[in-house]
Symmetry: C2
Subunit: 431 residues, 2 copies
Amino acid sequence: MSEALRIGVAGLGVVGTGTLTVLDRHHQLIAERCGRPVTVTAVSARDRRKERGLDLSAVRWFDDPTAMARDGEIDVIVELIGGAEGVAKDVVETALAHGKHVVTANKAMLAHHGTAFAARAEEAGAVLACEAAVCGGIPVIKTLREGMAANALQAVYGILNGSSNYILSTMRDTGREFGEVLADTQKLGYAEADPSLDVDGIDAAHKLAILAALAFNTRISYDEIHVEGIREVSALDITYAEELGYRIKLLGIARLADGGMEQRVHPCMVPKTAPIANVEGVNNAVVAEGDFVGNILTEGAGAGQGPTASAVVADIIDVARGTHLPTFAVPASSLQPVLSRTMSEHQGGYYLRLMCLDRPGVLTEITAALRDEGISVESMVQRGRGPAGEPVPIVITTHETQEAGMMRALRAIEHLDAVLEPPRLIRIEDL
Amino acid sequence: MSEALRIGVAGLGVVGTGTLTVLDRHHQLIAERCGRPVTVTAVSARDRRKERGLDLSAVRWFDDPTAMARDGEIDVIVELIGGAEGVAKDVVETALAHGKHVVTANKAMLAHHGTAFAARAEEAGAVLACEAAVCGGIPVIKTLREGMAANALQAVYGILNGSSNYILSTMRDTGREFGEVLADTQKLGYAEADPSLDVDGIDAAHKLAILAALAFNTRISYDEIHVEGIREVSALDITYAEELGYRIKLLGIARLADGGMEQRVHPCMVPKTAPIANVEGVNNAVVAEGDFVGNILTEGAGAGQGPTASAVVADIIDVARGTHLPTFAVPASSLQPVLSRTMSEHQGGYYLRLMCLDRPGVLTEITAALRDEGISVESMVQRGRGPAGEPVPIVITTHETQEAGMMRALRAIEHLDAVLEPPRLIRIEDL
């Protein structure tokens, strides 16, 4: 058996301790699968005295993770500190500068610096691997970079944030509103005290940036992503979605269209029959469309200690086995710039919910505004009747149209006297 | 760019021509992803004159694929002839004996000779890769061998045969019986003229043998698999399954239990809410249960020209990139023998449908037979009333029990005077 692969772990939070646990518990199994032992020889974290349930007596301790990243007796630095800048970035840069392989779960850092880091890794002859950065335990990076490598991809999309999916699933199951369900979700530990990364779509956008680069062999272009979260999704919209044969999911979507690339994160109505519509709770799922293979879906736990550690260790095992591939499937120098399509160019169907006075002529005014933009109505529902003077919902779905025209129609509709609240718009994805 | 990887393709049927098409259409893309060109330099098939829509003028032709497998100017032999024995086997043995890498889609051959071939490949320092052999385009082998490599696996199961899944899906959608739907499926080209490989579970068992070896790092043990097909599934059972909250799927299941391994292919009742219950039509899907990552599902096209060729070329790309891993995740010498559990040891719930005379005392006789074996009834449905003398269905589901006792109870029930037809039994899988 060859000599051990020496690992230094920077950051001993949930994922760091999980990683050490996996490497310890499966030491023998991993050695068999790699043809060599994988040994943690050093760790670094903020507080040495904190009780972590780990025996670190045989491991070198570094107060300074950047010093560890320079250490001559470590082959792979595992960066689990987090954050796009600061210490995490220093550690990765230092490790690569010293020719070490880097395994990281840091999606924010890669969304901002992924292309540059991939180039540095290649110059150094080192691996920069990040399976754990996208959808936790699901081997989606491997699927895109290797499993589907024979295909030109047309699109990659998915449920990339478990907290948001849990909230939307729970809203549907219970009929309750976003705010209430969010509060419960925080109590359960499925959402952070500051839920913004999750429910405002930022976390999903970080992951989408990485997936798009991998799928289309383009440079990371996080800043080009259109991002909307789920705060505006109401119980009423979820009910109407069900009636219309849809489910509301927060999707991240990267798609080639007319020579450009759309990258967007927003709530979508997806047909109930689409495989991704049935991905519930905290699970994540990603679908990639290849020209020969068709659609491949992968589903599993997108976060959590065990699943994320599983992906970190899978990357380490790849390194130990000698699988040294470019971070984004092709050499960084071959990554193409992104020609982005703006949202106003987006083509698709739309769901509109308007809260209107129930009086003659309202429907005519609304449909005229749509007609003026050449928008064709697919279905319209007005039902029930509130107390006098209370608004009633009118729900419209449209055939495929261009977003620019839809936005103009929406502004016209918003200004109608009979329309009492800002219209709600949700894009329909015919997946 | 490094020198080209030279490919020889043996067999130019549907998958062979698909493979050449992928390698031709994506020649540039693949070269970028591999850091070197991948070039088909030789082919072999039975009839040189057959029109295949391919330009083979720049490629060497071999009438004898075994001669091609010996050729000094080929790095990888792609075996797409098929069949467990005969020419396909000769080609693979010859290629490995000459130190060439082998990529194959031949599940029957691997189910019978996989362990021995993996050992030969290792001795020769060659890769033996078979992603296309299991579920066509879905990268399930890569997921088990690499993506989940940090886990000890507890189970792997899936919808491994698209034709059977299509037939069961269509039976459910249309309410028609197996024979009729099979005939239509054959007309559509989704089932062979001799459908036995598909509907009798043999094809699924070939794939399960490979998945089990990969998941548990054991020797291939195809002969130990318990195999039942879908010929006995009736429209009536499908209707009852729906009512009870289940769908009927033909699953291949390999699971560790009490220190042994169950390997079985048979129709199952799975909860409608299980992700795998929603895999419809010709799609395949595989779920693997890891101790850290939990359940990972992969779904996609399990057969067809494009998807299968996609998997063949993914294996070729791995070779071109220098990813050289053991066929079944660990060296062949480390593959453990299988300690099989017999079906009589199986523990699970059961669905029973009995066609009985509608007369007093029948239910007592039946439930007594179950009680005598310590089997606990979960639900019982007797409904409607046929013309006098016609049998009525009685449907029973049981709590988890051991199969040996269930079979004894079934024999007792079968001999009751009031039970007019052989009982139908379908195992319930609480996935």
